[in-house]
């Protein structure tokens, strides 16, 4: 049992500021926002990942937790009251330390594209690694996001996800105490590996 670590010191204010950070990150794709600064989550979760989980997950959402996050499962169940799904395709939210095959997540339906899954992906860091050039709603001029810890084929996987619009998954990237987001509406126009 790893429930011996607290969640948000103030659940209401913590979830509100977490929600604001996610909302800002989603509406300005690729920008970095602070989340979970005061959190001390169990390994392997980063504070930002924990903040996203505490904000978005409750007893009415179905969450997929991969085996490499199994140590944090009790903590998530205790603080979020989450319902777990063994099958990633059945989940509304999925947390991951490495990019799963995006096509295995639920992409909603043409009648209900809002039923698609949201992936909370913990990466190594921002500011170095792959440089993604982004364009789409929320970006007046193309923006760039440097992410370390995404696999080489990420841009191609994301293009396939974007092509399904209005269906498709939304992605929240977390590292340390920072989050960024890629909603399904955003396009990656170029992805350059670190020189």
């Amino acid at each position: 049992m790893s429930i011996d670590l607290p969640g948000f010191a103030d659940p209401v204010l913590g979830a509100q500021s977490g929600f604001r950070a996610i909302l800002d990150a989603m509406s300005r794709p690729g920008t970095l926002h602070e989340a979970g600064v005061d959190l001390t989550p169990p390994a392997p979760l980063a504070p930002a990942t924990a903040a996203a989980l505490l904000t978005l997950i409750d007893a009415e959402t179905i969450l997929h937790v991969p085996n490499d996050c199994a140590d944090a499962r009790d903590w998530i169940a205790f603080h979020c009251g989450a319902v777990f799904a063994a099958d990633i395709g059945a989940a509304n939210f999925a947390v991951a330390l490495s990019l799963p095959t995006l096509a295995t997540l639920s992409d909603g339906s043409d009648d209900g594209p809002q039923d698609s899954a949201t992936l909370i992906l913990q990466v190594e860091g921002f500011g170095h690694g792959q440089t993604l050039t982004l364009s789409g709603p929320g970006l007046r001029v193309p923006g760039t996001l440097k992410v370390a810890g995404l696999p080489a084929g990420f841009a191609a996987a994301w293009a396939a996800n974007h092509a399904k619009f209005p269906r498709g998954i939304d992605l929240i990237l977390c590292a340390g105490t920072e989050i960024a987001a890629l909603p399904r509406s955003v396009r990656i126009t170029s992805a350059m590996k670190e020189a």
Partner: protein, 162 residues
């Protein structure tokens, strides 16, 4: 919505049964009463609040006659709290109504009651007196209720003889 278990599992070990006993006693006690009994003890060790104290609703379920299908009796307000003491023992409390202070204190006492160094002192200073008082109150209520009990013997025999 949280569904409360209908009864404690029959396979509960003696440790679990003992813990259920003191948790039940602390959940029924008022804050003032508990503090009163704590006055004789040294200050309680520091603790970290892991969750709560927070008030919410639970669905109380029952079975007609004890053997029927479960039905939802109604919602009730409860307060829950979980704390960790310095040695990592986890204490839980769930209390009827909105009682955040008593709930946190009950969770704190649940944690230190699992500590051998504290158990006997807290048991004799707090749990045993509270249990005796609660038993006396229950006894008193049962006695008053018994005094108003109506025996339908006469009525039955009159009807059957008529």
């Amino acid at each position: 919505m949280v569904i409360m278990p209908l009864a404690a599992p029959a396979s509960a070990s003696p440790e679990i049964a003992a813990r259920q006993r003191w948790m039940a006693i602390l959940a029924r006690a008022s804050h003032a009463e508990t503090l009163n009994h704590l006055a004789d003890l040294p200050p309680l060790p520091a603790h970290t609040v892991l969750r709560g104290p927070e008030a919410g609703m639970v669905m109380v379920r029952g079975r007609a006659g004890g053997g029927g299908g479960p039905f939802n009796l109604g919602e009730m307000t409860v307060t829950r709290c979980t704390v960790r003491d310095a040695d990592g023992r986890i204490g839980h409390a769930t209390i009827a109504g909105r009682e955040p202070r008593q709930c946190e204190l009950a969770a704190q006492l649940d944690a230190i009651l699992q500590d051998a160094a504290w158990h006997d002192r807290v048991e004799s200073a707090v749990i045993a007196p509270l249990e005796a008082k609660q038993a006396a109150t229950r006894e008193e209520t049962a006695r008053k209720a018994a005094a108003t009990r109506v025996q339908f013997f006469t009525l039955t025999s009159m009807r059957s003889s008529a």
